[in-house]
Symmetry: C2
Subunit: 523 residues, 2 copies
């Protein structure tokens, strides 16, 4: 017998089993699963009353609030497609994404109403504007609609390959692309997550990771599937994270390495309040071993490193613990944990291939591109058959990430293929150089890019953010690099900056660093 593989199945089960448990904490309010699902059902009923039909798109621009969380149940259960938009984008970006997705309804948090009102004339296909948590002329009010409609709606007859969400990539170059995630894609990612990272009703999940980001790596449904508590948080500032963990007894969170870095570098009187029994999943960018080491040893947290892309729902690999890792000293263990690891049980097949599509050897040295085929791989890019065909050529999704495979089968990303620095015929991984330099006590953040060089073709340049109050010279950094790295990998130039350009999801925009840099002359 076949029943659709969909996150809605977890919601069906959670309704039955977890009704009395705490589901959502958002600022001062708290809801049980029964109350949470009632609110979702009321919103589903309202959306149907507004004329939404299966397949219609509903766009959201909101931080990690209860209303945003509710959208992940209320929109799919009527068969509509959710478009969670990155709230850190500009009004022009909003207009592009809303129009590209063809959303009929736009829901926005109070912080984004002005931006939307400015671009209203451009949003010709949008029929309804919903203000999620405030009153505003020209906007319907979400809470009033919830009050108006009873919690009864017509459930959609969802098939597993139906579209669940469209998640736009951050677009480090060019226009953002709309990743089409099916119900089956998300279901498989959730189940795989739970196989490798067991969770239960006792888990209290802190929403540091934005929900718009790959559907909060699917935790919008994963936490519900096990009856855990969702602890909402509008902004992931280090101090707020610490206070919320203490106040709500949160014991589980997901965070990009940059968020972890901000935590380990926040004032000692703040971070010393953190409890030790917290599990953290990190993904979104390769974490430096030094960061992992501090999170595990100083905080006493248990860290799991996961890797994937929006296009893969998103998990492809997990750094699966092995008994032999446990006996390593902290520095070596952190180095192992900084590897992306091995395929999840449900994610599909990963390969590392060279330019001819041939698999590279498990030698820990030969660089290949990560390609993957499996049930977590997206249906394609929305309304973009050319980009889809390009990404899926030969029946494999091409990640654009360059990596090596170690003899134990563990994959380690060396760089985005386009960020690899080719210097005198040698590949230099910008990530390797960054990881080494992050061990310098004065370095808070660093980005290394290839700069044209007359003799070597390219050479590395480092952009450095120093820690508040710390001071270091270019000469000192060069000396530190020489001791830690092969000579040809040492940056030819160190440039001190106040901050690094980043996408809204915390990825460093290296193309901006490379732009217009003067070439380095042969010495």
């Amino acid at each position: 017998m076949q029943i659709a593989l969909t996150p809605l199945e977890f919601i069906r089960r959670a309704r039955k089993l977890y009704g009395g448990l705490e589901a959502v904490i958002d600022e001062d309010s708290s809801y049980t699963y029964a109350q949470f699902f009632e609110r979702c059902d009321r919103w589903s009923a309202a959306l149907q009353h507004l004329g939404l039909r299966p397949g219609d798109r509903v766009a959201y621009i909101a931080p990690n609030t209860r209303a945003q969380l509710e959208s992940f149940n209320a929109v799919p259960q009527i068969g509509a497609v959710l478009v969670p938009i990155n709230y850190r984008l500009t009004a022009d970006d909003f207009a592009y994404l809303i129009n590209h997705s063809g959303a009929r309804v736009v829901c926005a948090d109070y912080d984004y109403l002005d931006a939307i009102d400015c671009i209203r004339p451009q949003l010709k296909e949008v029929e309804q504007f919903i203000a999620l948590n405030t009153e505003r002329h020209g906007w319907l009010n979400y809470e009033k609609l919830l009050q108006k409609f009873p919690p009864s709606f017509t459930p959609a007859n969802v098939q597993e390959n139906d579209l669940l969400t469209i998640n736009y990539t951050s677009g480090t170059s060019g226009k953002p692309k709309g990743v089409m995630i099916t119900h089956r894609n998300a279901y498989m990612n959730i189940v795989g997550t739970l196989v490798h990272v067991p969770m239960s009703t006792t888990d209290r999940y802190l929403w540091t990771l934005p929900m718009f980001h790959c559907n909060g790596w699917t935790f919008v449904w994963t936490v519900t599937a096990v009856g855990g508590a969702h602890i909402c948080m509008r902004k992931a500032h280090p101090q707020t994270i610490v206070e919320t963990i203490v106040d709500t007894r949160a014991n589980l969170l997901c965070a990009a390495p940059t968020v972890l870095l901000s935590l380990v570098n926040c004032p000692i009187e703040v971070r010393s309040r953190l409890p030790r029994s917290v599990r953290v999943l990190t993904a979104g960018a390769p974490p430096a071993a030094a960061t992992i080491e501090r999170v595990e040893d100083e905080f006493g947290w248990s860290l799991t490193h996961v890797y994937g892309l929006t296009e893969t729902s998103p998990f492809i690999t997990i750094c699966e613990p092995r008994p032999e890792h446990a006996s390593l000293d902290p520095v070596k263990r952190a180095a192992v944990k900084a590897r992306q690891g091995v395929e999840l049980i449900t994610s599909g097949e990963l390969r590392l291939v060279d330019q001819n599509g041939e698999q590279v050897p498990n030698d820990g040295e030969t660089l290949g591109e990560i390609v993957v085929r499996g049930n977590v791989v997206m249906e394609g890019y929305y309304k973009d058959p050319e980009a889809t065909a390009q990404a899926m050529k030969g029946g494999w999704f091409h990640s654009g990430d360059g990596a090596v495979v170690h003899p134990d089968g563990y994959v380690e990303i060396r760089d985005r293929m386009k960020d690899v620095i080719i210097s005198g015929g040698e590949n230099i991984s910008s990530i390797e150089v960054e990881g080494a330099m992050l061990r310098h006590p004065a370095v808070q953040e660093i980005a290394v890019v290839g700069i044209p060089h007359e003799r070597w073709g390219e050479v590395p340049e480092a952009f450095v953010v120093t820690k508040s109050g710390a001071s270091v010279s270019e000469g000192e950094l060069r000396q530190f690099a020489r001791e830690a790295l092969a000579h040809f990998k040492v940056p030819h130039r160190f440039t001190f900056v106040d901050e690094l350009p980043k996408t809204a999801t915390g990825k460093i925009q290296k193309y901006l660093l490379r732009q217009g840099r003067p070439a380095i002359s042969a010495v």
Copy 2:
């Protein structure tokens, strides 16, 4: 992107990641995963050389040996269908099942060659007879074939709804039925098991449960999926179990309650050797709370109670731990753990319905039949559309099990619907009476059935096996029952027997106990 959901995907991943780990221990030999898969591949090549094509059936009659374990990989990866037959059946049964399945190849352990040779004239469709671990005239030798064929075969293009195995029910009444399990069925059961019972490369799984029994509850693939070690064992005698656990450092096993009962009742000098860090899954029949209590408190083992049927791949429910269970005293906790529990995250929807198909209330009292729809439910009975239609009426699989739902949503089986005793209009659960009587120190095993009664319609009769060396009178047992049970539930007759009639999977054949019993007169 869709890739077939099949246990073969776990094998693909395990080949890549676990090649150097210990895969199989069988008597004095031990194989790594690389060696194990090489043997499987050689056997796949041999089967293809023998003319086996996708869809063809291969029958096995073997205890828990390495060769039987290999069949679960080698047969499916060429697209053929495995028919693992209960080796405890008679030669006539073997003939019926082999012919009904239309197997072209029969593989048998040395203990069963005589039986097969006797029925050879009846096996007209069988083309090849393979002796798994001995030389015999008229039989090909498995090990010689493995030596002869290199490990290269043509992998089948398996689709997820293709047939994986045919598992014949034990047939407590009537002819056995062939349960058709698809690749997707098994995949979903495995993933669900791993979500609820996390396992890893450190697990060492002891094969106490027969592999033929629902494909060893799918652990033939589950253990491989995580890179654990399979520890084979031909017979599940208590002494052998204890010795093997000690010798092989096994830390995980599955067992029907009757096997656990044999362990807790084996001599103290034997059972006192058991290590405490063992996890056990029990299913196959409702375990008595008293048995659970002893396994957990005396052995210090961690027990998980799972419920299902061959027709559901087999898991439908798991007694999911809740924080509030942990604080219960051992007796109450065992009573909670004796409940069948709640749906697994992947198993599908379970309902309890009355004779009109209406759901019964969550009152812990009203009896309903367990029905289920989900991805673990079989495709149907092989070559038996009538039995399939009967079992699947209304689009739900009808389990035949009568149960109640407690207010917390946890299901508790009261009886097979046909074993419920209706006495003076009241339902009596034979399992409840048995559970109460098992707390009497002299009672080793007990079965309670309904016997015709002039006044009450039916009344309970108890068939009792006393512990070796123990002595108890009918009057003493009646007095014990009166103190533990409502008056109308007290057995009207206690009959002492040396052993209870059981199916090969350890289920008590109550219909045999009922046959020809004299009616009980009104007093």
